[in-house]
């Protein structure tokens, strides 16, 4: 879902990648080895340590292994121990900001980006991470202003294009949040074009195509989404994000067997809880309840696998529990905990949904109002809003939001698209025709 977009943005601007992903991992391993040798030769090589940190970060992106982020942090700390008061230290500080983002320590990320900017290095890159942190903290205006600073009058043409790519791909997300889905798509198309034109690493191009596909899917343009996911896979075969995206398209096309295969492939590469939950939902749809249960167990296992996972998957787990009517108190507690550090619209949405599932309708209404306040056209938000207002007895609002969810994408979710249709039918029925169960359709 779009909730992932921002964390995915972190993929941009990393070190070089090459297709396919496995080959990219090998290239990163080689780079790490050579940088390790470099700092071994010269223990005072601050630039070497900074680059080593960045290489570990890249490795972390590829493997989603928390240990790589710890190694990145150590190398970057070492670099900053050697040099911290010079424009040259801005790179290491920016990478520290990226570590903060990856670990969902958004305030730390912002502070590091600000420290990097305070050095006045002439490189506007830290603005990107500052914007990312602000967006995750719900300050979209601040994020937009930060992204608008991604310009460098001193850079080469390639550097300028690279910055325009970073700016446009991020602004695309902000446009989406602001409700301008077509504007978001247009910006992302431009970013894809720039990525190809400037011969960016295959993984970056694949990510851009994938991101465009996500926006198409959210806009209900499933065919365009499918094409873009396939383009992403063509650029970077077995790219786990594109595999999962394509699986989502196949599920919406009711091609469940293909969807299962694709999700399995994605999970084999990077086991994100979100993918396991989606795969479980398909199994459930197919009546394979044991398989579904296994996937749901996997979601929890991944979510609690490490301290870092507990930190970064709070919101995913909260949503998963709420979606599946499991551990509802924990779902709410996780959503509330997440809101302490992350106040973007999707955290408000998950809080709304968890509150709703816990029967806290007023709290849910307040939270969903925050989620909707930017004007975002996301079927999931509208579905949640519709269900909350239905249970609050506000039928006109409930109908409006459920209709909007289905109008955007009639197959926006494997289970909830149907639930939205049913709820809308109930709302459209005259009161007398409702069964007792329907009339008391409490969460």
């Amino acid at each position: 879902m779009i909730q992932k977009i921002l964390s995915l943005l972190l993929l941009i601007g990393g070190l070089a990648g090459s297709a396919p992903v496995r080959a990219q991992q090998n290239a990163t391993d080689d780079l790490i080895k050579s940088l390790q040798a470099r700092v071994k030769r010269n223990a005072e090589d601050h630039a070497g340590y900074a680059q080593l940190g960045a290489a570990y970060l890249q490795k972390g992106r590829e493997t989603a292994d928390a240990a790589d982020y710890e190694l990145a942090k150590s190398a970057l700390e070492k670099s900053l121990d050697l040099l911290s008061n010079d424009p040259a230290a801005a790179f290491a500080m920016t990478q520290m900001a990226v570590v903060g983002m990856v670990e969902h320590r958004f305030e730390d990320a912002l502070a590091w980006a600000q420290k990097a900017l305070a050095l006045g290095s002439g490189d506007p890159s830290p603005w990107a991470i500052a914007g990312d942190a602000l967006a995750d903290m719900g300050d979209y205006r601040g994020a937009a202003e930060a992204y608008s600073r991604l310009q460098n009058p001193y850079g080469s043409q390639d550097e300028k294009l690279s910055l325009s790519y970073r700016r446009d791909s991020r602004m695309s997300f902000l446009r989406f949040v602001a409700g301008d889905t077509q504007g978001a798509i247009q910006l992302m198309r431009g970013a894809v074009h720039t990525a190809i034109e400037t011969h960016m690493p295959a993984e970056n191009i694949a990510w851009s195509e994938y991101q465009l596909a996500e926006e198409f899917f959210l806009a209900g343009e499933t065919d365009a989404a499918e094409k873009a996911y396939l383009a992403s896979l063509e650029e970077c075969p077995n790219y786990y994000r594109a595999l999962a995206g394509l699986a989502k398209v196949r599920a919406s096309q009711r091609e469940y067997v293909q969807a299962v295969t694709l999700y399995k492939e994605a999970i084999a590469r990077v086991p994100y809880p979100e993918y396991a939950a989606a795969l479980g939902d398909i199994y459930r749809k197919l009546g394979q309840l044991d398989d579904a249960k296994k996937q749901y167990e996997l979601v929890e296992f991944i979510g609690y696998l490490s301290q870092l996972n507990q930190q970064i998957h709070n919101r995913d787990l909260a949503l998963f529990y709420a979606d599946h009517d499991l551990k509802l108190h924990e779902s709410l507690a996780l959503a509330q905990k997440e809101l302490e550090v992350r106040r973007d619209i999707y955290t408000w949405d998950v809080l709304a949904w968890s509150s709703f599932k816990n029967g806290k309708l007023q709290e849910a209404a307040t939270a969903i109002a925050h989620a909707l306040e930017q004007g975002t056209n996301d079927p999931q938000l509208f579905f949640h809003a519709g269900m909350i207002y239905q249970n609050l007895g506000d039928s006109p609002k409930a109908k409006e939001y459920l209709q909007r969810a289905l109008e955007i994408n009639p197959e926006f979710h494997i289970a909830y698209a149907e639930a939205a249709r049913q709820a809308l039918n109930r709302l459209n029925k005259p009161q007398g025709e409702l069964s007792a169960r329907e009339a008391n359709n409490a969460p």
Binding site: P87, G122, D123
Partner: protein, 425 residues
Amino acid sequence: MKMLGLAVLSLLVAPIVYAQAPLGTATPAQQKIAWAEAAIKAHPERNQPYNDLAVAFVQRVRETADPSYYLQAETFVQKSLQITPDNLEGQKARIMILLGRGEFGQARVLAKALNKNTPDDVLVYGFIADADIALGDYEDADIAAQWMLDMRPGNVPGLLRGAALRRLYGDTHGAAEFLSQSYQQIAPTQTEDLAWTLTQMADLQLSTGDIDGAEKLLHSALQQFPGYYAILEDLARVQTARQHYSESVELLRQRNLKFPTAASRYALAEALERAGENTEAGLAYTDFATTARARINGSDNANRELIFYYLGFGHDLAEALRIAQLEISRRHDVSTLDAYAWALCGNGRYEEAQKQVAAALAVGIREARIFYHAGVIAAKLHDSASAVRYFNQSVELNPSSESAVAAREALQKLLPRSAAAHGAK
């Protein structure tokens, strides 16, 4: 002037984002101090947090004008160097302290040595440029600043040094352009840096007589960093340029409530004199002279102000020259050359004065006061044509300056004589 105006406009409309400071109302230096102290608590065995703390205290001096922070900075540099002898950042912090205290010669020696070992460090070049500019070695400063900009195009420390040099070379528009570029790159959290840069910009505007433009910039700077002493000093200059002397006095009184420098005491004394508050002016001059004389042999002295004091209110021309000779033995920057020239002129040594002021002007500096001094010296040497030219330059450059008023009077006296001389030829 048009270009300068455009650059200023771009400063005023530059976007400011997330102005809120992470640590509430703490200043940037205070935030850095808090971060560094936390880092020391977490890792007392590492040298770097001590360096960061030292640098933050140096930055705090610029925020407050309170030189006592240098003592703390020095303590933490020593601590850092105890942990890791000769570590790069520790040495850099030490040079920053030396520069802040006006120990330019020593700072330059250390920076040059450090630069030899770490030729890829941008800030070390900046320190060399700072020391060179203060000592008047502009050629060497130029090379260092150019290295900074070549190594990292568009870096703010490099642009600021470049702006200072461009101004010294008389390229006011170029200096404004660099300051504008710097301002647009400074992080919005660095409120003191932003205010300082705006103040520099305002200073530039004032030097060309654009009083309104300067005032706008200064008010903008006040929003960034309220109560900043550097802004109050320049706002006082704005009021002086408007001949609003009482307002100028008020601003300087306000400025001197906290950590007055010898120079700011002198500015207040001058303002009081202009406002006709002669008794208070006398007291203020005495206060200044006492403070400044105590540091006459020190590095962080106010000898240039002291020279002008003895040439004016202090009425001791010989003492003015003695101090000027002392200062010129240490540095040859344009301000010291000008002060020395003026002291020589005051003592009737016009030819020597002419040599010194010519050396100052040869750098390219365009300052109404220096042009005026050059005019007076030329007139004393009976070089009416040069005198007229210099006086005209002074008036044209900054019609609202005090020097311009004096230059106009001098021109009135000179012009008939000059015309007659021209006719005789």
